[in-house]
C-alpha cells in the first residue's frame, strides 16, 4: 500500500502540493485526476522519490520512498515525456532496465514488442510520440515492479492502443501483484479502467474514493411521467442533482439508494423508466459539490 502522509511540496512561491493525504491500495488501479497544474505530476514525482517533499512523507509498503532503493525497487515511474538514452533502441533500453530492475521480464518485453509491432533494433528517436509511449509503457510493465506510476500515459496513444494498454494492465493485475497509478487530466480516459479515483485541485486532494462506492450512492434515471404534478412531486421527494427534459423524456441524476430511487419513480406511475450507467464526469460533479467545489468548469 502507498501512503501519502501530509505531503507538501512547493516550487519557489508556487505551492504545488498542500498537505496531501491519500492511500493507494494494492491490486487496484488508482486514477489521479485534476486540471493542468493541479499537482498530479508533482504528486507522482514525489511518490516516485524523484522530488523531495518539504513536509510529510510517502511510504511504499511502509518504507519511506525518499532515497530508499528498497522502496523504489517496488516502483517504476513513467513520466509524461518518455526519455530514452541518445541513439538508444528498444533493446538497449531493455538492457538498461535489466540492470536497474533485476526482475525485469525480458522475454515478455520481447514478446510484447513483437505484438505491438515495434522494431527492437530501430532507434527510438525515429519513433513517433505514440510509439515512444508504447515502448515506455512496455518497459514499465516488464520492469515487474509492484507499483507503476504513469503520468499522462494514455495521452498520445490511439484508441486501439489505449484499450490494449488497459487490457495489459488488467492482465497484469490478474497475474501478479500490480498496482498502476495513472495520472490524467481527462476523466474519460481513465473512467473505464480505474477502481479508485483521487481528485487533485490546486495542490490539495479533494477526495480519494472507490469508484463503485461512489456509483452506489448516485443514480441516473430516464423516465416518462405523464402527470406534470407528479413530476414536480418527484423533484421534491428525490435529492436531485441534475434534471433535464427533452420532450416528454425526463432525465434525472439523484442521490440515494438504488431501490429507494426506483420505488419513488415507480410510485409516480411512469410510462417508461430506466436506470442508466453514470459517467465518471457525472459522478464527479455530484461528489465535488458535496465538498463545496464547483469544478464543472475545471474538469470537463
Amino acid at each position: 500500500m502507498i501512503k501519502i502522509e501530509d505531503v507538501t511540496k512547493s516550487f519557489g512561491d508556487i505551492l504545488a502540493l498542500d498537505h496531501v493525504h491519500a492511500q493507494i491500495h494494492e491490486n487496484s488501479i488508482f486514477g489521479l485526476v485534476g486540471t493542468n497544474g493541479a499537482g498530479k505530476s508533482t504528486m507522482l514525482r514525489v511518490a516516485a522519490g524523484v522530488l523531495q517533499p518539504e513536509g510529510g512523507r510517502v511510504l511504499i509498503d511502509e518504507l519511506p520512498v525518499w532515497e530508499n532503493p528498497q522502496a523504489k525497487e517496488k516502483i517504476c515511474f513513467l513520466p509524461d515525456t518518455a526519455w530514452f538514452f541518445p541513439n538508444a533502441t528498444a533493446n538497449m533500453m531493455r538492457d538498461y532496465y535489466k540492470i536497474v530492475y533485476p526482475d525485469f521480464m525480458e522475454e515478455r518485453f520481447d514478446e510484447l514488442l513483437a505484438k505491438f509491432d515495434l522494431d527492437p533494433k530501430r532507434k527510438l528517436a525515429t519513433f513517433s510520440k505514440g510509439m515512444k509511449k508504447q515502448v515506455s509503457v512496455l518497459l514499465g510493465i516488464c520492469a515487474n515492479t509492484e507499483y507503476l506510476f504513469c503520468d499522462e500515459t494514455f495521452d498520445g496513444l490511439d484508441p486501439v492502443m489505449r484499450q490494449t494498454v488497459k487490457s495489459l494492465f488488467a492482465a497484469e493485475i490478474l497475474n501478479r501483484k500490480f498496482t498502476p497509478v495513472i495520472a490524467s487530466h481527462s476523466l474519460r480516459e481513465i473512467e473505464d479502467i480505474c477502481d479508485h479515483i483521487g481528485l487533485l485541485h490546486k495542490g490539495g486532494i479533494l477526495f480519494a474514493k472507490d469508484l463503485d462506492e461512489m456509483k452506489l450512492g448516485i443514480h441516473k434515471v430516464q423516465c416518462v411521467i405523464p402527470d406534470p404534478k407528479k413530476e414536480e412531486e418527484l423533484f421534491s421527494e428525490l435529492e436531485v442533482l441534475k434534471h433535464e427534459k427533452r420532450g416528454s423524456l425526463l432525465t434525472v441524476i439523484a442521490r440515494g439508494k438504488y431501490d429507494e430511487v426506483l420505488a419513488r419513480i415507480e410510485a409516480k406511475q411512469p410510462l417508461f423508466c430506466e436506470i442508466l450507467p453514470l459517467t465518471l464526469e457525472e459522478i464527479f460533479i455530484s461528489e465535488t459539490e458535496v465538498v463545496g467545489y464547483d469544478i464543472k468548469n475545471l474538469v470537463f
Binding site: 516550487f11 519557489g12 514525482r45 516516485a48 522519490g49 524523484v50 522530488l51 523531495q52 532515497e67 532503493p69 528498497q70 523504489k72 525497487e73 516502483i75 517504476c76 515511474f77 513520466p79 515525456t81 526519455w83 538514452f85 541518445p86 538492457d95 538498461y96 540492470i99 536497474v100 530492475y101 533485476p102
Partner: protein, 601 residues
C-alpha cells in the same frame, strides 16, 4: 541492505554510453602523444645517420614529464568528461528518469564518475603505451623511460581528476550548460582576478606599503591555490631531474590527489543537496544566487572605480562608475539567472549591497580611512629604525626580501630616519621623481612589533639625513659590510670602475685601453685588482669611510665592486674624490702595473 543492482554493470553501461567520448579522447591524445613521437622520430632519423643527432634525446623531449601542452589538453578533457557524464542534472526529463530508479544518488554519482574517468584513463594510458612501443621500435626505450612515463601517466590522471572534480562542482552548482561554463570560468579565474585587483588597489592607494607586502607571498603559490585547474597546472615539482623532465614529488602527487578528493566529495555533497527541480535554473541553489551575484559584482564595481580613478581622478566619476557598472553587472547576472529581460531589475537589494559595499571599500582605500599611509608611531614608542635605499650598494640585497634587508639595518639612534619618515608622510605623492628618492623604512616598536613602509622624500633632505647617519658608527657598520669583514680571504678580487669623471684629476690619465688589466664595459675603464693590492685598497677604503660623507660618495660614479671566491658579488661601494686614501692606493697600483708593462715591452 545490499542492492541487487550490480555496480560494475552500471559502470560498464556508462562506459558504453560514453564510447564517443573515449573515441574523441583516443584521437586527441593519440595525435598529441604517440603520433607526435612518431613524427619527431621519423623526421630526425635521417639526421641521426648524417649528423649524429641523438634519437634518444628526440624521444625524451617528446614524451614523459613536463609537457604543458599535454597538461592543457588533460585539463580540457577533465572539463569535457565531467560535463558529458553529469549534464543530465540540467534536464528535468533525464532527472525524472534517473532519480526514479532504485539507485541511491551516491551510487549513481559513483557509477557515472568512474565511467567517465575510465574513458580518459583508457585513452591516456593507451596513448602513453603506444608512444613507448614506438620508442621501442626505434630502439630508444629503456627501463628508466618506462618509469618516467608511468610517473607522467599518474601525474596526468591526477591533474585530470583535479580538473574533473572542479568542473563537477560547477556542474552541481548550476542548472544550465551555459551557466556551467560560466561557473567553470568564475571558479577558475575569480581568485586570481581578486588578487590582481587587491595588488592594483594597494599600489594605487597604499603607496607606502612595501611591494612585497602587497604580494605577501609568492604569486605562483597564490595562483596555484586559486582553483583546482591552477593547482593541477602549477603544482609543485620535486627537485629530481629525470631524463624527460623534472619529476613530481610524492608530496606533490599526494596534494593533487587530496585536491581531487576534496572537490569530488564537495561535488557529491552538492549533488545530494541539490533539488531535482533545480534543473533549468542558472544556479541550482536559490539561496546562493544573491550571494554569488554580489560576490561577483563587488570586485567588478571596484575595477570600474579603479579605471575611473586612473582616467579621471575625480570622486564623482569614480562613484558614477561604481554605481553604473555595479548595477549593470547585477542586471546582466540577473538576466543570466532568469533569461528574462523584464526581470533584470529584480532584487534591487543586491544592486544596493553591491554599490554600497564597493563604494565603501573603494573610498575607504582611496581616502586611507585606516591611516595606513600616514602611520607614524610616537618617537618614544620606537625602539629602533632602519632605512634602505637602492643606492646603498654595499648592502647585500641580491635576491633578498625587502623585509630581510631592512631587518639587518636597524639602528637605535634613529632620529634622522624618523625625520625622513615624517617628511615622507607629509610629502604629497607626485608623478615627478626627478628630485625625489624612495626610501624603505622599518619601525621596530617597543611592543615587539615591526612595521614596514616606503616613502618618497625630497632628495636634498635625503642626503642631509643620510650624511647624519653616515657619521654614526653603527650605521656605517651595517651599511658598509666591508668595515666588518674579518677575513678578506673570502673575497677573491675587486674591480675599480670609473663610469664618468675627470681621469686627469684622478691621476689616471695614462690608462691605455689595450691594457689587459683594463676591460671595456659600460665603464670608461675598469681596473682588476687582487691579492695584496686588494687588501691595501680595502684598508684604505675603510679609513676613508670614516671621513667621507654619504652624499659625497653618491656624487661620483666610481665604484669598487668585490667578487667572492665562488664568483658571487661581495657588494659594490661608491668612491668619490674625497676617498683620498683609496684613490692614492689605486693610483699606485695602477702606475705600478702600467709602468711594469711598459718596462716589460
Amino acid at each position: 541492505m545490499i542492492s541487487k543492482i550490480s555496480f560494475s554493470k552500471l559502470v560498464r553501461d556508462e562506459l558504453r554510453k560514453l564510447n564517443w567520448l573515449l573515441a574523441v579522447q583516443m584521437l586527441v591524445f593519440g595525435l598529441l602523444i604517440p603520433f607526435r613521437v612518431l613524427i619527431e622520430l621519423s623526421v630526425q632519423r635521417p639526421r641521426f645517420f648524417s649528423e649524429g643527432v641523438s634519437l634518444q634525446e628526440v624521444f625524451y623531449s617528446s614524451i614523459g614529464l613536463g609537457h604543458p601542452e599535454n597538461t592543457m589538453f588533460i585539463l580540457m578533457a577533465g572539463v569535457v568528461c565531467a560535463i558529458s557524464a553529469f549534464s543530465y542534472v540540467h534536464s528535468a526529463e533525464k532527472l525524472d528518469f534517473f532519480h526514479s530508479l532504485p539507485i541511491k544518488r551516491e551510487r549513481l554519482f559513483a557509477a557515472k564518475y568512474l565511467g567517465s574517468v575510465l574513458t580518459f584513463a583508457a585513452a591516456y594510458i593507451l596513448s602513453q603505451a603506444a608512444a613507448l612501443v614506438i620508442g621501442a621500435a626505434y630502439g630508444v626505450c629503456s627501463a628508466k623511460i618506462v618509469f618516467e612515463m608511468a610517473l607522467a601517466t599518474v601525474e596526468g590522471i591526477l591533474c585530470f581528476l583535479c580538473s574533473y572534480a572542479g568542473t563537477l562542482v560547477a556542474v552541481m552548482l548550476t542548472g544550465k550548460l551555459l551557466a556551467t561554463f560560466l561557473a567553470v570560468g568564475v571558479l577558475g579565474a575569480y581568485f586570481p582576478l581578486i588578487w590582481v585587483l587587491k595588488i592594483g588597489m594597494q599600489e594605487l592607494f597604499y603607496y607606502t606599503a612595501l611591494a612585497s607586502d602587497m604580494s605577501g607571498v609568492n604569486s605562483t603559490d597564490i595562483l596555484m591555490c586559486s582553483s583546482p585547474w591552477a593547482f593541477a597546472a602549477f603544482h609543485k615539482r620535486g627537485m629530481v631531474k629525470g631524463i624527460t623532465g623534472t619529476m613530481p614529488s610524492l608530496a606533490g602527487l599526494c596534494q593533487l590527489l587530496a585536491v581531487a578528493a576534496v572537490f569530488s566529495l564537495l561535488a557529491l555533497a552538492l549533488y545530494r543537496a541539490r533539488k531535482t527541480e533545480a534543473a533549468g535554473n542558472a544556479i541550482a541553489f536559490r539561496k546562493v544566487e544573491g550571494i554569488a551575484k554580489v560576490l561577483l559584482m563587488i570586485p567588478a564595481a571596484l575595477c570600474a572605480g579603479v579605471v575611473a580613478y586612473a582616467s579621471f581622478y575625480s570622486p564623482v566619476w569614480e562613484f558614477f562608475f561604481i554605481l553604473f557598472f555595479g548595477a549593470l553587472g547585477c542586471m546582466i547576472i540577473e538576466f543570466i539567472y532568469r533569461s528574462d529581460i523584464r526581470q533584470v531589475l529584480a532584487h534591487k537589494s543586491h544592486m544596493l549591497i553591491t554599490v554600497v559595499v564597493a563604494s565603501a571599500v573603494f573610498f575607504a582605500c582611496r581616502y586611507d580611512v585606516t591611516g595606513f599611509n600616514t602611520y607614524l608611531p610616537e618617537k618614544d614608542e620606537v625602539e629602533a629604525m632602519a632605512v634602505y635605499h637602492y643606492d646603498m650598494f654595499g648592502v647585500e640585497n641580491e635576491g633578498k626580501d625587502e623585509h630581510k634587508v631592512l631587518d639587518a639595518l636597524a639602528i637605535e639612534d634613529f632620529t634622522p630616519v624618523y625625520e625622513m619618515a615624517k617628511a615622507g608622510i607629509e610629502q604629497t605623492p607626485s608623478a615627478d621623481w626627478t628630485d625625489e628618492r624612495e626610501i624603505k623604512v622599518k619601525y621596530c616598536l617597543k611592543n615587539g612589533t615591526s612595521v614596514y613602509r616606503r616613502y618618497r622624500i625630497d632628495q636634498e633632505l635625503y642626503y642631509e639625513k643620510m650624511d647624519e647617519l653616515q657619521k654614526q658608527e653603527d650605521f656605517r657598520t651595517l651599511c658598509y659590510p666591508i668595515l666588518t669583514w674579518e677575513d678578506t680571504q673570502q673575497i677573491s678580487s675587486l674591480e675599480f670602475s670609473v663610469y664618468t669623471g675627470d681621469l686627469e684629476t684622478l691621476g689616471l690619465s695614462d690608462i691605455k685601453r689595450s691594457d689587459q688589466e683594463i676591460s671595456d664595459s659600460e665603464a670608461e675603464f675598469t681596473l682588476h685588482i687582487s691579492g695584496k693590492d686588494m687588501d691595501q685598497v680595502i684598508e684604505a677604503y675603510r679609513k676613508d669611510l670614516e671621513t667621507v660623507s654619504y652624499s659625497e660618495l653618491q656624487s661620483y660614479e666610481m665604484c669598487l665592486r668585490f667578487y667572492k671566491k665562488d664568483g658571487t658579488s661581495g657588494g659594490c661601494y661608491y668612491v668619490s674624490d674625497g676617498c683620498e686614501n683609496t684613490l692614492k692606493v689605486i693610483q699606485e697600483i695602477f702606475h705600478r702595473k702600467t709602468s711594469g708593462k711598459t718596462a716589460g715591452k
